[in-house]
Symmetry: C2
Subunit: 177 residues, 2 copies
């Protein structure tokens, strides 16, 4: 079976989560299927095979899971992008807009070396606000955005356009809704 | 160099984090060292080689990172153990005591199959409260605790004794303070 068809059968729609009117894409059945995880991670590695990738920056918390798998598969450093107040060492922060209000993500100041090409990973691309904030922090730390990797893209939220305009790099996902 | 010596050189002490009087063990320099991550994950796999492990349950959020790597290395399902309100599907919860008050962790009801032997992973073992709560949920879902895996053990908090008394299984860690 095609990897997209299999993913579509595994990903579960949860109506009204985390709040009324939102249909949440639950990826936990994918994580429970180790052969599918191996296939997804292998496809991500293969997709970025022609790009120099020095590290992967993964976004808290769901992005940490497959981000860890990708770092392991590609044998590259794992860099956490965390919500405000979670990282213990010297850090920089980046604000971004939510539907109502703003949020903050943070990275350690010594998270990457200057000139590194960093792949940014999260489980799901919605509006792209968090991913764009992660990309901006990587640039502020002297790195380059090598591209973006997601398992799922919610295409109607136009996150791919936003990331292309902001960074001009490739956005890869396994399945789009 | 011995893996423990190298880990000890990488792990960073952060005084007064997350609050005054606590010395936080920052593992992010380990995650930035991909060869070290490969070595740690290989040692964990090797340690549990004689035990039947059907899945790994990893604890939010730092446990997700190396938990993902272990799931990938061992080719077994990844099961998230999350803080209250984060999991979208039908779930069970387990309360546990903190120094002041209580906390809750949750797992999906369909997270594991009956009879599965589940390895529980987190980055750091302190009092063992969260790990014990995860083990209880696995038992309530019809599974067995195959053992516990941590990168770091804070031995003066006696978490290892607590987990041995509660489950009688093996607790593995790479380095102890």
């Amino acid at each position: 079976m095609d990897i997209r068809t299999e993913l579509d059968q595994l990903i579960r729609d949860i109506p009204d989560f985390p709040r009324k009117g939102i249909v949440f894409k639950d990826i936990t059945p994918v994580l429970s299927n180790s052969e599918m995880c191996l296939a997804v991670v292998a496809e991500i590695k293969n997709h970025f095979a022609s790009v120099k990738v020095d590290a992967i920056a993964a976004i808290e918390a769901r992005g940490f899971i497959m981000g860890g798998m990708i770092a392991h598969e590609m044998n590259i450093p794992f860099i956490p992008v965390r919500k405000a107040g979670k990282l213990p060492y010297e850090k920089i922060e980046q604000k971004y807009d939510l539907e109502y209000g703003t949020a903050i993500v943070e990275m350690h100041k010594d998270a990457i070396e200057k000139g590194w090409n960093v792949l940014i990973h999260d489980d799901l691309l919605a509006t792209g606000g968090t991913a764009e904030a992660a990309g901006k922090m990587i640039q502020r730390l002297g790195g380059k955005v090598a591209g973006f990797s997601f398992m799922v893209n919610l295409s109607f939220l136009l996150g791919e356009d936003r990331l292309r305009k902001a960074f001009g790099t490739d956005t890869h996902y396994l399945i789009s809704y």
